[in-house]
């Protein structure tokens, strides 16, 4: 319920793939399309809906990505980052 409500408020900002996010900006995770068990594992690592995430940098070859989430750094391959849909976070 609350998720849908938030969805309506922030309708103006578009949802897009985490893999195409700009480095240095803060984003909010909206949903995750990954298959199990990776989906649950990443949720357990703090990649839950509503969490703030930022792309710290990409590896020299473009994948994996270094994310800042829940106060630590997490590395994910591009394939996994493509499963996350985020919205830009306005402070």
């Amino acid at each position: 319920m609350s998720n849908n409500f938030q969805h309506k408020i922030h309708n103006f900002s578009q949802e897009f793939c985490l893999s195409s996010a700009t480095a240095g900006k803060n984003y909010v995770i909206c949903r995750c399309n990954l298959a199990e068990p990776t989906k649950t594992r990443l949720a357990e690592l703090g990649m839950v809906n509503g969490a703030t995430v930022a792309v710290a940098r990409r590896a020299p070859t473009g994948s994996p990505l270094q994310l800042a989430v829940q106060g630590y750094w997490l590395c994910l391959r591009k394939e996994q980052a493509q499963g996350f849909f985020v919205r830009e976070k306005f402070e």
Binding site: N33, T38, A56, P60, G71, L74, Q82
Partner: protein, 659 residues
């Protein structure tokens, strides 16, 4: 171990300092490092200052739903409820994620004591954790400790005792308040969200920032600054190459070589002369021969590499303690993904420079089975410290030995890449993921590095005193006696008889270049016990310096075969423990690869020496063909090169995922 009344399980996220605490409590010397996945096996020890408590160190896990092999070990142990008390180690600098695991642990129904580790580090960064508030919310004791600085241990011990007493007084000590918050009926995914919301609120309440009002601590800022260079798009690989080159230059090249030369050129002849003089006077000539030509020559030829091996391990331990190892995995993952490996495999390869056994066991942190099997098969191709002895033994006599020695490492990498591609053709992994936490950099503690290095040096010397000693005596005996146990000439001994039977197998590899084919063949076989034995055997059997007994090309092919072939018995048993039935395939693959590569090198090399003009022409043609093929392939790929995860790609991904 049976005399202990209580079992205390150390559990927590990877890289939160469980093993450091374990070493501190039990006085043990387990390996520690600053990257997630150092511990992959369960270890048990007795709490030193509390003799009826037994401490179990479990591999780090992020959750009670296991994802990788090493997490399964922990989760099985925790679910089995064999422990009387769970000692949850929590990293203060990463409170939210660590407390997420605590909420899961509390629902197991066992008494929990939480140790807030890295408190000193957090406070230096201006983060203060209020353990009273946490205690009130979670309903279990929280103790601030620092495993590295050794503070708060007495309090921790006291709290553990109180918790155990309380648990034995009334069986239902577990806080029920939390259990209702996270109903087990919900899916793990839904639970994770609930838990994070809960923990996030608590952490916000219990943590007060003083010095730095912004979210990033000073330590993280420093890490960011270092990473800006170390993980930079253009600088990452040059820095990586420099670091590795420095490790080998320091340990093998300059400092190590100096000490090794001193041992080989001064100490060994001295000991041999002393043994000769002593036993010729007080024993028989045969005894003198056994001691000076057999034991001293064999064992000392291996001990000579002690300085280099020790320094190599010290350098690798420093690298691991700093947190750079995780960065190596990060920067190499993209490239290794193309050959069916991953970033974690790079860590295994780096560990493999020291010893194949920890390299193979570290593969447990790899999720994908295909990727894991490939890593286990390919990690022993990396020249370990014992193979380094073989390389150094044969190249030290050559004029440009350092360059040739480096070429073996490059060749290993080429072989790993080629075999990776080969294995990938056979079986493509479709379940590959790379999920890894990047730790903040920490200054390596001198005590830990020294401790680990001393342990490695000790095990190296133990090996020299047991395996190599036994092998030297056995070889000396087999060399000088025939099957009727008569003292004969070396050419007619048991070893020569056996060696001459198997030697033709290695003739195509050029082992017989200098007419000492069977000696080299026997040395290769003896490497099965430990790779250092190859050096000891050559020292025993060859009548002259190794570079005079074989051509340069033959020596090169000999080293290549020994570096790439199936590892020593210790590593082979590790492969069997990890792969079970598939282990035979790995070993067969390694032996075949070794044979084919050294055969190619020797045959192509000798052909090139004989017909240099034809060789150069052929090589040029091949290079042109290869570069054309590469360019064509690259052109085909550039169609959507700028599309860096654009919407269309995302949509495709979804379609692919759900159909």
């Amino acid at each position: 171990m049976n005399s202990t009344n209580y079992t205390i399980a150390l559990c927590g996220n990877p890289n939160c300092g469980k093993t450091t605490l374990f070493n501190l409590l039990t006085g043990d010397n387990q390996k520690v490092g600053n990257w997630p996945g150092v511990t992959v096996q369960q270890k048990t020890g007795v709490w030193m200052s509390w003799s009826n408590a037994c401490v179990v160190d479990t591999p780090g896990t992020y959750s009670l739903n296991p994802y990788t092999e090493e997490e399964k070990v922990s989760c099985q142990y925790l679910h089995s409820k064999k422990a009387n008390l769970l000692l949850n180690v929590v990293d203060c600098t990463q409170l939210v994620r660590s407390l997420f695991f605590t909420t899961q642990l509390l629902q197991l129904g066992l008494p929990v004591v939480v140790a807030l580790n890295f408190c000193d580090e957090a406070e230096r960064n201006g983060t203060f954790v209020d353990e009273k508030k946490l205690q009130a919310t979670f309903g279990c004791p929280f103790v601030k400790i620092s495993a590295a600085k050794r503070t708060g241990i007495a309090q921790l011990c006291e709290q553990c005792k109180i918790a155990l007493q309380r648990a034995s007084a009334n069986k239902t000590a577990a806080p029920t308040k939390l259990c209702t918050k996270f109903p087990q009926s919900e899916s793990a995914y839904a639970q994770a969200r609930r838990r994070y919301n809960f923990v996030g609120r608590i952490a916000k309440d219990a943590v007060s920032q003083t010095k730095h009002t912004n979210a990033q601590s000073r330590q993280k800022q420093t890490t960011q600054k270092i990473d800006a260079i170390v993980l930079n798009k253009w600088l990452a690989f040059p820095v990586f190459a420099t670091v590795i080159a420095l490790v080998f230059f320091l340990s093998v090249g300059s400092v190590g070589a100096f000490f090794a030369d001193t041992i080989n050129n001064r100490l060994t002849p001295l000991l041999q002369n002393a043994a000769n003089v002593f036993f010729l006077k007080y024993g028989t000539p045969r005894l003198a021969s056994l001691v000076s030509d057999g034991i001293v020559a064999g064992v000392m030829s291996v001990v000579g590499f002690l300085p280099q091996v020790t320094l190599l391990f010290a350098a690798l331990a420093t690298l691991e303690a700093s947190g750079y190892t995780a960065r190596i995995a990060f920067i190499t993952d993209g490239l290794l993904g193309k050959i069916g490996l991953g970033g974690r495999s790079a860590v295994a390869m780096i560990l493999g420079c020291g010893c194949s056994v920890p390299a193979i066991t570290s593969s447990r942190t790899i999720k994908s089975t295909t990727e894991r099997n490939a890593t286990i098969t390919l990690a022993p191709f990396m020249p370990c410290s014992a193979k380094l002895a073989i390389i150094a033994f044969l190249t030290s006599a050559m004029s440009n030995g350092a360059v040739i020695a480096t070429s073996f490492y490059l060749l290993s990498i080429v072989v790993i890449v080629a075999s990776g591609l080969l294995l990938k053709c056979r079986k493509t992994a479709n379940d590959t993921t790379f999920i890894m936490e990047l730790p903040t950099y920490r200054r390596p503690s001198a005590r830990n590095v020294l401790k680990q290095t001393c342990e490695r040096a000790e095990s190296f010397l133990t090996k020299a005193g047991t395996v190599i000693l036994a092998a030297s005596v056995a070889l000396w005996f087999a060399q000088h006696y025939n099957f009727k146990l008569q003292w004969v000439d070396t050419q007619n001994g048991m070893l020569a008889t056996i060696g001459k039977i198997i030697a033709p197998l290695f003739y195509p590899l050029g082992f017989n270049d200098g007419g000492y084919g069977w000696q080299f063949a026997v040395a290769t076989l003896s490497g099965f016990s430990a790779k250092e034995t190859v050096v000891a055997t050559l020292q025993l059997l060859l009548p002259c310096r190794p570079d005079k007994c074989i051509s340069i090309l033959g020596a090169y092919s000999f080293v290549v075969y020994n570096v790439l072939t199936a590892p020593c018995v210790a590593a082979i048993s590790t492969i069997f423990a990890e792969q079970r039935k598939d282990a035979w395939k790995s070993l067969a693959f390694q032996i075949t690869t070794a044979y084919v590569v050294s055969l190619t090198i020797y045959q192509v090399g000798s052909a090139a020496q004989r017909y240099p003009k034809i060789f150069v022409t052929l090589l040029t043609c091949l290079l042109i063909a290869a570069s054309t093929a590469l360019a064509l392939k690259h052109n085909a790929k550039t169609a959507c090169r700028n599309c860096n995860g654009c919407k269309r790609q995302c949509a495709n991904f979804q379609k692919h995922d759900f159909n």
